[in-house]
Amino acid sequence: MSVDLELSDDQTLIRGLFTAFFAREAPTSVARASEPLGFDPVLWERIREIGAPGMGAPAVCGGGGAALGDLVVVTEALGRSIAPVPLVEHLVAARLLGTPDVVAGDVLATLAVRPATVRGRWRLVPAGAVGDVVVGLDGDELVSVRSTPPGKAPANHASAPLADRDARTGAREVIGTRAEFERARDEWKVLLAGALVGIASAALDLGVAYAKSRQQFGVPIGSFQAVQHGLADLPALVDGARLLAHKAAWAGERTEPGRCDADDNDVTDFSALASMAFLFATDAAARATDRSLHFHGGYGFSAEYDIQLYYRRARGWPLVLDDPGRECLRLADRLWGPPTGAAAMHAPGER
């Protein structure tokens, strides 16, 4: 994405390829059929065949060396299809690990986005039910642990392959520091923001299509301003979330130190922008799915219609990190420094 805020030629190409790929290989019937686990091994095999698992890994490891901005384009396409494969987590883990089997996607890697408990337990790891390798923080160490995934997930809101994993059982290797973990988690926030933009955009399209076709009182419900105005707020959220995700991705590739000048609305710091992109896309996806579902009337909450699939994932995908309000506090720390005095006790943190 350039300063005129359009996708680059390469990104336009990637978007075309992946949008077509997911439309062909992962219509929403695939997401539906994957429930309750939320993982489709056949789709993962297709993903593997096109070389997507390693496209963000460094070229020296045999990866595609794609920039974060290119990967955001990929995850947006994935989000539009709510494709039941943990590509967001795998892309991030593959950039850290770079081993041939992970780069090729022969083994599934994931990121524990919350630190391990003192007993070395990672709670509700995204793709924890299916990941062969889990990368995450244990104490102050970034570790990778290879162990057999449980293959099943506790029943959950998003039908996501969540599972608890052990940070100390299995083939464990220290691969980095807390700082490197935080960097990886920021990348995850940005790629997940891309996926949430996809959800928001698909939910808006579903809502608009329904409002045009559904007739009540002899006219399409989309001719009622109450419905029109509820939908009209959404494109700015979708577009804004996409722009912000791409700005964060751009910041993540820069070598210069970023700026955190909220007073002048001048923020180029990667970690701050990653939080912003994550939070705004979370909100955009929540609101787009909420309104779209609502304008479907009773069909919105009927299992047969797709909007409920999007609605649940819009909440389930980001909430594996934390309450968005607490993520706001982390952003505030980044922008204005940590709180001081007694109030600091209420601030969240992992220290």
Partner: protein
Amino acid sequence: MHLESGDVDFELPPPMQEYRRQIKRIIAETVTPADIDLQHETGTFNCPALNRALAEHGLIERAVPGLGVGDPIELWMLFNELEKAAVPMDGLGVAVMIAGVVNHVGTEWQQEQILPSILGGEALVCMGLSEPDNGSDLASATTRAVRDGDGWVINGAKMWTTMAHAARWLVLLTRTDLDAPKHRGLTMFILPTDTPGITVEPVLTMGTERTNATFYDDVRVGDEWVLGDVNGGWQVLGVALAFERGVMGGTNPAVPLLRRFGAWARATGVVNDPITRERMARVAIDNEVAALLTQRTASIAARGGLPGLEGSMTKVFASEAYVKAAHWFQELAGPDGLLQLHEPGAAADGWIEADARHAPVTTIQGGTSEINRNNIAERHLGLPRSAGRE
């Protein structure tokens, strides 16, 4: 200023950064705290010294749509910097927009008469569009312009003619054909405000800014003051609104709000409160998104597009977010958030209270949120035209 395509870059190119620094420098050297106070005392949101300084550096001409060196991009950057600095800019905004319209549809004679005074930072422009009974439905304007020999006689009344008391030029929407469909019977004029028959009455507002009601009694003008085509007033209005919405300020009003609130919150220790911190963070995010949406709008215009819908989306998002932010910060300030400018103990020296009064104005002026949502729903989302609207 040309924007390179292709490379991934959210950092502005060096010449644009230099342009931005130049604007910041001019603001810092020209606008005093007294100038900013003055606008709140007089209600006239304009700073003549700033306009002249910008003109001396050629920055007004450079920003005028269609005339400037980099037009939409520089226009966006100029007004974004003015807005972030919270300096008086409403007068300049209308003047620059109308300069763009005159440049786009005006006759050579009109351009000679009008443009130098605007580009020199000397003259302001006011717009007579809304009427007492016609606001969002501008096409129902009833102010009449009737042929009289070679000229016209105008009679009627306009509302919200902001800056009429300070402006040299007036843009006036009139009805010239009673029989044509309502959008096709309108003609735009541009007139000197001292034309006999025009009177200006102040209208005071909750949001501090003074606006006006203007009255037109047998105002006689020549044909040379018709702006655009006779009965082509709606098209002229479209050009003006396309220039206005989205890039000329009004898209980052919560930046100075956050800056002033943040300074107060740090000084008082309120900044340590987690509820305060969460809301400050959310406002910072909305500010960032509003800036990106505005840059996107400007970029579409720079490529030759007419980003009316993108501008509408940005306007609704930014003004609604501003209302939310002003409401949050006033509440977070508690009773101190009620105190007005320079009262002892006022939160952020009273700026929080001032923003809480000003914010609701922004979701109305320049096109209400509802009118913009109509446009987005029908022209961007392709929803059917709503019942009750022609």
